[in-house]
């Protein structure tokens, strides 16, 4: 077995209800790599990230996906998080009544509990929280805000990157995190991803714009169309898509 492989997807088919959306995805992601997945609307980009994180509405009809050698598809969403997978949501969800502090404390300590580790000490947690908030330039008062409630589009995305930094995932999936962001917010997202760019980690950047990829240089670019990866190349593919669109694939 190739020990560098983090995620191995073979001939993955998935449906939402009766409708088949993914029609045979093959993808291998190794440690240290950044993969961009581009494609037109309706190609299955968001379905791919939903299936990888275990969203209940989607059914895998055939094929396989392993994460660090384990059957990913057999794992619950929370177990995938504990294993080191993180998805930045395209549309982050509001959780009324739950503060960011309480949310993150519960998240971190749930993972520690699952691993048989004691809860993080309050002082250590607060220090971590403050440093990661500063890293994504979130104002400290957001710690007491209810998760995503009343946040602007940019604030929601920043909160996603903050959570990513807090949970320190092995594989981060950014599902159109760049849509609707101004350049400053885009740079924060890029800094977040680039900070996790280590020889042991990997990222999947799902987007249909090339803007974010000016700040995060991908190792591979895939074109997803009608539920299949129809082209794979290096970062030069981004320019080609920008110039000619997805029609040629």
């Amino acid at each position: 077995m190739d020990n560098d492989i983090l995620l191995q997807i073979n001939d993955l088919h998935a449906a939402a209800g009766e409708k088949e959306i993914l029609r045979g995805i093959d993808l291998t992601i190794r440690k240290g790599e950044i993969h961009a997945v581009m494609g037109p609307n309706g190609a299955g980009k968001s379905t791919l990230s939903a299936v990888l994180t275990g969203k209940p509405e989607y059914t895998v009809t055939s094929g396989s996906a392993t994460f660090m050698g384990k059957d990913l598809l057999a794992m619950k969403p929370e177990e995938r998080s504990w294993a080191g997978i993180f998805m930045s949501f395209q549309y982050p969800i509001e959780i009324p009544g739950v503060t960011i502090t309480n949310f993150m404390k519960t998240a971190i300590n749930s993972k520690r509990k699952a691993q048989g580790i004691e809860p993080m000490k309050a002082a250590e947690f607060l220090k971590l929280l403050r440093s990661k908030m500063a890293f994504v330039k979130m104002k400290p008062e957001f710690a007491k805000r209810e998760v995503n409630v009343g946040f602007s589009g940019g604030e929601k995305k920043r909160n996603e990157i903050f959570q990513m930094a807090m949970l320190d995932p092995v594989l981060s999936i950014l599902d159109e995190t760049d849509s609707g962001l101004d350049v400053d917010a885009l740079k924060i997202v890029a800094d977040g991803v680039n900070s996790l760019r280590t020889p042991l980690k990997a990222s999947i950047i799902i987007t249909h714009y090339q803007k974010l990829l000016e700040y995060i240089e991908p190792d591979y670019v895939h074109v997803l169309k009608a539920g299949k990866i129809v082209a794979t190349s290096g970062k030069e593919l981004v320019g080609e898509i920008e110039a000619e669109g997805f029609d040629k694939f």
Partner: protein
């Protein structure tokens, strides 16, 4: 009860002016005083409820919170007469039903004089084959101008076999008032559950967080923080049991 009242015709309809009468079960919140109390009703324990009739005098401040824990059948009628100007009255409650409880709450809040404020806030979590009824009436007399009266009843239904009945009513005979009422019956948001799970929070824990956050605005009516923490801990345990 309305039989011995005097009828007053108003543009808003016929107001029945019933004399205020205190009885053995009447609690009087005296002018200029404060009355804060929470009542936790546990299965098997006997907690004496606040009087089922409360008279609120001028310039007083009342905050009553009733917490009905799982396993309790309860039938609680409360009538409130606001008879002194400038008083502030709050009645709130939480009910958590997990099996076959029957809980009935019936409130009547009468604003008889001008310039009083009343607030009612009841949140319930209902599961199993439990049934809850909430009947809440606010009556604002023709003379009770500058009244502020609010009432909310929110419910989370956890099972298809449980039943929630809620009926808020406003009867307003004065024309310069601020009043609102509302009732909701909903389920736990599954999108939010998936979001929490994707961050490593197990499904059960996600549900507990959702329910605690649903309860928390009512819990804040318990002013004594030590008491509130004890109740919060009991509620946390109760919620985990009915999941």
């Amino acid at each position: 009860m309305e039989g011995n009242g005097r009828y007053v015709e108003t543009p808003g309809g016929r107001y029945v002016d019933i004399p205020v009468k205190s009885g053995p079960d009447t609690l009087v919140v005296k002018a200029g005083t404060a009355f804060n109390r929470s009542y936790v009703i546990n299965a098997g324990s006997s907690v004496s409820m606040p009087a089922n009739h409360i008279i609120v005098e001028e310039g007083s401040l009342t905050d009553i919170c009733i917490i009905i824990m799982p396993g309790v059948d309860a039938d609680i009628p409360i009538t409130v007469d606001l008879i002194g100007e400038g008083s502030d009255f709050s009645l709130s409650g939480i009910y958590i039903c997990g099996s076959e409880e029957r809980v009935s709450l019936e409130t009547v809040v009468r604003h008889r004089v001008p310039g009083c404020k009343s607030n009612q806030h009841f949140n319930g979590i209902v599961s199993g084959t439990a049934r809850t009824d909430f009947f809440g009436r606010i009556i604002v007399a023709p003379d009770a101008q500058k009244t502020e009266a609010y009432q909310v009843n929110r419910n989370i239904l956890l099972s298809d076999k449980a039943k929630v009945n809620t009926k808020p009513q406003l009867e307003i005979y004065a024309d310069d008032v601020k009043c609102s009422h509302g009732a909701t019956i909903g389920r736990l948001d599954e999108e939010a559950q998936f979001y929490m799970r994707s961050r490593g929070i197990p499904l059960e824990e996600a549900k507990v967080l959702q329910m605690l956050s649903f309860i928390s605005p009512v819990l804040n009516h318990i002013r004594n923080s030590a008491e509130r923490e004890v109740v919060a801990k009991d509620i946390d345990e109760a919620i985990r049991k009915i999941l």
